[in-house]
Subunit: 95 residues, 2 copies
């Protein structure tokens, strides 16, 4: 597998790993998303200080308002986050 194929496969694997936790294996519940963010992006949520952060992230992610985050919604979130990281490194490199 190429590097890009590996990255795509890993993104799918992360989603599936947390989505299988409860009920619907094809979507992330709020609890599952919280666990995913805490373990996979430990620096993303400020360490428990902002208790509404997860609420806000979830509301933004759950585009169709069904209280579940499906894979499409998740992958758009990861894309947006990757874009932010890329910008950050570009700005850092430009300094």
């Amino acid at each position: 597998m190429s590097q890009l194929e590996t990255a795509m496969g890993m993104t799918i694997a992360v989603f599936d790993q947390y989505a299988k936790g409860d009920g619907n294996r094809q979507t992330l519940s709020k609890a599952e998303l919280k666990t995913l963010l805490e373990r996979e992006l430990p620096n993303f949520l400020s360490s428990g200080k902002d208790k509404d952060a997860i609420e806000r992230v979830f509301k933004n992610l759950d585009e169709n308002g069904d209280s579940q985050v499906d894979f499409k919604e998740f992958v758009i979130f990861v894309a947006a986050l990757t874009c932010c990281c890329h910008q950050y490194f570009e700005q850092k490199a430009a300094r």
Copy 2:
């Protein structure tokens, strides 16, 4: 690094690796995108039979029509492709 952070970092690394080929290091030219697709997603373009395929992919990717694919355009493409892969595996698992 977590699995998701690694996947995000790999996506950035792939883009940067091919974008630095010619001229602008922050964007992919048509030639750079062609090399990227051929090496990173060898099964994506049907093996050279359809010569217009790269033209079509490039036109679709180059959202702002500046003949360059920037990181945001690239990452949206990867997200869409990852979504297709996920659907494919879901359907396969459901059979």
